[in-house]
Symmetry: C2
């Protein structure tokens, strides 16, 4: 903000790219009395993703699971838009501003990269083309003293035909809204009576088939929430349609919920079996397309081609895609840059050309145990060097969350837990005394375990210390999460909505 | 619904066109034990319009002011779509089904009628062209025993250039949502700092000018709510933008709020003056257009041409249109039909050709004092006629709400009060004993007075018996309305949101 700039001249400006679990948690923990906080993000809020599936079926109101960035306690600067490029030498970020209506409340899925040399990384140009607003936004430049890269990862479609165009994703609040509209609209469309020009029961059976691709916690939870919505709220309103409804979860792996032990995974599958949710493992989706003719044009019916089924396609009214992540195109762009100087005050052999170091497997940026960005060429150790910290790291640039790969723990999962723990660690170190303090203590990941909701108030929770199942797991861990990451406003509203939905049913109106 | 059809064979089917104040209140009051209720409406819910402005500024959550039709107590049939045509002789309604995502949550503004012979009435074709979903819906046919026409009226643009394309309307929940997105987006767009490619303060002054056209309660209330949002929620977040913000209400009349007495109207104007809301009476809007170049293309800046200002246009970031209603195109279509027989068992002179009688001034359907549709040719009074009620009325067809004009009280205002009172009266008479009971007791309008919110917890209320002002008026009358027309769910949620918004501020995230 113009005003904040003027009054914070003496403070170091920390610019944060992203407002997800990493970026928001960092901004929340960083002390505004010690630093000027500036967030750059395409969305103006943080989404509490564990409850996203609940909002997509109307158990919760959308706004109860998002936290507006501008409402963070203490002074906060915010620019809505995409970080378009970074000049590390002059410590400046170029932003493509985008404050258009509904900008970026929908998951952006980049086109596959043009150079095959760069596996699983999106093509920035193709991505901007896919951006929310057709019109390109203003370009603005923001200087920083310290930079925290927390811009996350994109959904991975594995270049499967039709997925970008026809599948629903479930990563942002706008996605949840579209999914909810689609579900309710499908039931409405199938509720019309017999008539000259109407849907046959076979058509309706296709439209009321809900396919979920990806058997991780997100996909499983969505299937469970969807089942609750249909059984508890839609069955009384559309009784004659119930025989035509079906839910299927597809996964390429041998088992779903890989992070759970046998007993819990079996418990999940038994629960699903009782709920008539089909789980089809070792199924490979090859293509997604709109049905030809009226059924596709008017009602948006889809056809799923599955390798194991040969040419015979599966019909569906909606396909929810919840599998795989790909590196953010910005990362590829940044890693390609040559860094002129290793730091503010260059040591002797500054000539050594270097660039950001990327993890060849995931395409993320490598960091040291302190979440500092690694550079590709390590300078020779030199006791005389006045800048030991300059060795192989890019000063004042930190990377956290899905776009970071820690060299000491390279296989940390891309989860909210990892992101928020990294964020809190880095912010606390900076509060404790800047770059020096950061170098003082390495990051350690504490696994609180994984919670997955299975429908009918049942859930499973797995960690090193416990293996909970049933409603206890649900209450304990949802509650824990909630109190941990939400504002007072939402701590009040979420339980109220749980009660309201339980008493009076979920919201079922489309608008 | 298929199921309900089978089980209700013995009951008379009452088909209701529309789910606004008239249609919803009627369906709510009609006894499902005595009649099979079937609602046909483009939207799947009833909107509590007095709180629409509150949702458009985030004081309330959208879903708290809508009631899903399918959640009406007792069995209810519902088909989402537009009544496309009615065959009165065979008692069948043709519906253009439309259950597409977000169908009709946005105000549809028909193009002006092609035949100038038909003043102020929209052209059905032009309207369908303007319909929400490009794809035409299935056509389905629904038979009725009794028909209640409650399809309301459309927004009147007086064929002013650019209004349909660029103005925001405020009649449905989708409108409120779009308005909220636009307001917040405008502040976000103006919050970017100085830069090579950025908005000047002059540009921002234009974008942050909010113009409201129409000085009736709706326009005035929106201006007031917008002022509250800006002063209480946006000022702390965008302090540097406040000097650039302005709100103007334009009206063609000499004074706004014509239904209020001098003292209350003056109180309203004084309140607005203190809030720096400009009220410009006797101003005629002549054209609305997008600014040329980036400012228009990228930021959607508008230019308003006003007769009194000559060629010099007024800039604005948003124009909210809340003035005038025009007859529903369906009415014109129905009135044009020749009715073959006057009733189920035709009297002697059945040959007498007739059609629905329309009010030449407003284009609505004339009804008698019992809300029965009037026909154009009255048959000669004939004591021997076995069907006295067949004289000049169309049997089993009733008209209520904005599309009805009562011959005994032709100048009733087009308000929620009139609509809901007519609805309740008709439903109670039918409950009391069908067509006979309807003829027994004429409708009388009771004016509960008009409430208008002025911002800062102040309101004014005017009726024959009182002239209230200040917060008392607000509490008493909002409360009264609320308890009268809402479900338990929303009776709980609305006060909770009032409290939450008051404690923690309004919802300010865009998605």
């Amino acid at each position: 903000m113009l005003s904040s700039q003027s009054s914070d001249v003496q403070k170091e400006r920390v610019v944060i790219l992203g407002s997800g679990w990493a970026g928001y948690a960092f901004a929340r923990t960083l002390d505004p009395a010690k630093y000027e906080r500036v967030i750059i993000s395409p969305r103006s809020y943080f989404v509490f993703t564990p409850l996203l599936a609940s909002t997509s079926v109307g158990t919760l109101e959308f706004r109860t699971i998002i936290e507006p960035i501008r409402r963070l306690p203490g002074k906060i600067g915010f620019y809505q838009g995409w970080a378009d490029d970074i000049d590390f030498d002059h410590k400046t970020i170029r932003i493509e501003a985008n404050a258009a209506e509904e900008a970026a409340s929908k998951t952006v899925v980049p086109a596959p990269a043009t150079p095959p040399s760069d596996p699983g990384v999106a093509d920035p140009k193709a991505m901007t083309a896919q951006g929310e607003s057709a019109k390109k936004g203003d370009l603005i430049h923001i200087p920083y003293d310290k930079l925290v890269i927390a811009c996350g990862a994109y959904s991975q479609t594995f270049s499967i035909e039709g997925v970008r165009e026809h599948a629903h994703f479930l990563r942002d609040i706008g996605d949840a809204r579209r999914i909810r509209l689609r579900i309710l609209s499908l039931f409405e469309q199938c509720s019309y009576p017999q008539g000259s020009d109407h849907l046959t029961d076979a058509d309706k059976r296709q439209l009321l088939h809900f396919a979920i691709v990806g058997g991780g916690p997100t996909g499983i939870e969505f299937a469970a929430e969807l089942h609750d919505l249909i059984r508890e709220d839609l069955a009384p309103l559309y009784p004659h349609l119930m025989p035509l409804v079906s839910i299927t979860v597809f996964d390429v792996a041998q088992k779903v919920l890989p992070m759970f032990d046998q007993a819990l995974a079996k418990y999940a599958m038994d629960t699903f079996a009782r709920q008539n949710i089909q789980v089809k493992t070792e199924h490979h989706l090859e293509r997604l397309r709109l049905v030809d003719g009226e059924l596709g044009r008017r009602h948006g019916a889809l056809r799923i081609k599955i390798k194991e089924h040969g040419d015979e396609e599966v019909g569906a009214g909606m396909v929810v895609w919840s599998t795989g992540l790909m590196a953010n195109p910005l990362i590829a762009k940044l890693a390609a840059k040559q860094l002129a100087s290793p730091g503010p005050n260059p040591p002797a052999d500054a000539s050594a050309a270097r660039s950001l170091l990327r993890d060849p497997r995931t395409g993320g940026i490598m960091t040291d145990a302190h979440l500092r960005a690694r550079t590709s060429t390590i300078q020779p150790a030199n006791e005389a060097s006045p800048h030991p910290k300059a060795r192989g790291i890019l000063e004042d640039v930190y990377v956290i969350g899905d776009c970071a790969v820690m060299e000491n723990e390279p296989s940390l999962p891309k989860t909210a837990q990892v992101a928020s723990q990294q964020a809190a660690h880095l912010a606390r170190r900076l509060n404790a005394g800047g770059a020096g303090a950061v170098a003082g203590k390495a990051f350690r990941y504490r696994n609180w375990g994984t919670l997955t909701y299975l429908g009918g108030w049942k859930a499973i929770h797995q960690s090193e210390v416990d293996a909970l199942r049933g409603w206890v797991a649900w209450v304990v861990w949802r509650g824990a999460y909630l109190t941990k990451s939400m504002s007072v406003r939402n701590k009040i509203l979420v339980p109220i909505y749980w009660m309201i939905s339980w008493l009076f049913g979920r919201g079922i109106s489309r608008f």
